[in-house]
Symmetry: C2
Subunit: 321 residues, 2 copies
């Protein structure tokens, strides 16, 4: 472990990949890893890019990487695609198209699989963002599909949240708008050469009047990622939002909130591990579970018993007793 | 609280609704409620019905309720629809169509909203199922849409898992099949009068050969819910699966596993409540969080400090220290 962290500190990309894989696979060393790298993190800026399949997100991300690279920034990209199990081919296609990026030392690409066919679990995106951050990447782009719970959790870790749409989505677009209006900082209408692009932009503009919780008015950018038209506009919009976050103090606020969340989350993890270990080790607890399984003890009463045993306390932790 | 539980025991439907609402809204009395009703539960049989929008699930459920009512069974129905915020009209339509059921004392219908526009949180389905169970309902039908993580969690609580499809879904169908093949006990091909219904059934049949983890071979039933054709077949397939669960011992195994899960889950809840309370009450803990927010303390190190304070212990709960 220490060796791995040391190599990570020395900017060894293999060590980076290995740490990400460990965290992705819920390694028992997860907390130890996070604790060790925490002091190195805190400098990267995170962009979240989401939108329905077929909106051209991959091409857009590709062009964004090039732009940031052109500015001398190191870029990390996380692609979280719950549907990727159904589109192995498409992903392979992306890989081939992005081959230049795999050969560029200033780019780190990583695809995060979600577990299980049924939507699956969200991968440990916030931890993996932090690992990339600690590695010394300047910009982290997190690409997700759709507007499910998992995707919105993931995009919440981003400093600038970009929602990509395209003309001709119809109802799906409606749902998309209803769901993400509150969180998007920048709307991209991609494939702007297609008919109806301006309508989509106008539509979004109108819906933005409904949003009043923030002093940042989301920008709407038309792009043709394929031909790079609009990419510079998008890059500048991102810069403006970044400036806004830093000047308004909102960025600092977000950072503080995230630090506290990390702490709460770490507490949960430690407790969870501690409980699981206790369940296995303490015979008295195992016996209680057995009685519960047989149906002879109310599981809610048993919960209290188990907690009393584990924390070696005479008082109940359950309220109302 | 005690009054409410007492009225619940006396089969007061208003008390039932009120308890469900409290649990749905994460009432602080949640654990108390669940502890009190636990001894009354354990008799209901749970059917999970899922499938894409437009598959005719509501009509199918309507006909199933009628069939069970005809057999003298009391039926509870939970409709969990994350997209319902986008289709308020459709839901209202269902209500009107199901009016007979609202007037039938042997039927209890309940729609569970998911929180937040963005997919939202899964409601406390397992607890609400238990409340209906404790109320004395014989059959509980849980209707969900789609194949996301939330829906699959919900359908996991069901004894018999029914997946509804219709001809003409194309790619969506493919995804559906890949995702739910492992969990479905019965496949319904609804709108069987439409062209391609037999193809869908044949397709499913073929995919079933890939499934080998169980000694139950999922049945495939063709229905036209609208005209009630096939409903009796479905009813009988449900009975056969129910018999299989009881004769093979799998049902008992599932019940035991669920009891233990309930206990684990209650432990988590108690701990969570206890921690939150402690966070607020202990000044030393509040101070640590403040230092973490300012960035002067590693959140992972802080987590350990907080746990030491709360559990008044000198040893660390974190492994590897």
């Amino acid at each position: 472990m220490e060796m791995l962290i040391k190599r990570f500190r020395q900017k060894d990309r293999l060590a980076l990949s290995k740490l990400i894989t460990m965290v992705e696979n819920n390694s028992p060393f997860m907390l130890e890893i996070m604790k060790a790298i925490e002091p190195m993190a805190g400098n990267a800026y995170v962009l979240g890019v989401t939108g329905p399949p077929g909106a051209g997100k991959s091409t857009l991300v590709d062009k964004l990487i090039r732009t940031f690279r052109h500015e001398g920034q190191k870029v990390g990209v996380l692609c979280v695609d719950p549907s990727s199990i159904f589109s192995g081919g498409a992903f392979l296609g992306d890989r081939v198209r992005m081959e230049w990026a795999y050969r560029d030392d200033g780019v780190y690409l990583r695809s995060l699989a979600t577990r299980g066919a049924l939507g699956g679990l969200a991968p440990r995106t916030s931890e993996i963002i932090k690992i990339l951050d600690a590695f010394g990447v300047d910009i982290i782009i997190v690409e997700t599909v759709g507007v499910g719970q998992m995707e919105s959790d993931i995009i919440r870790y981003s400093d600038t949240k970009i929602v990509v749409s395209v003309p001709g989505l119809g109802d799906e677009m409606q749902a998309l708008k209803a769901g993400i209006l509150e969180i998007a900082d920048i709307f991209v209408v991609n494939k702007a050469d297609l008919q109806g692009a301006q309508d989509v932009a106008d539509d979004l503009q109108m819906m933005l009047y409904l949003r009043k919780d923030s002093d940042w008015t989301p920008e709407i950018v038309l792009t043709e990622a394929q031909s790079e038209r609009g990419i510079l506009d998008l890059y500048q919009a991102i810069q403006r939002h970044r400036d806004y976050l830093s000047q308004s103090g909102r960025g600092e606020l977000q950072t503080k909130r995230r630090r506290e969340q990390t702490c709460h989350y770490a507490i949960q993890e430690v407790l969870k591990n501690y409980m699981e270990k206790s369940f296995g080790e303490i015979e008295e607890v195992r016996n209680i579970f057995e009685v519960v399984r047989e149906g002879s003890l109310n599981p809610y009463k048993a919960a209290d018993e188990v907690l009393k045993i584990i924390f070696n306390s005479k008082k109940t932790l359950m309220e109302g007793d």
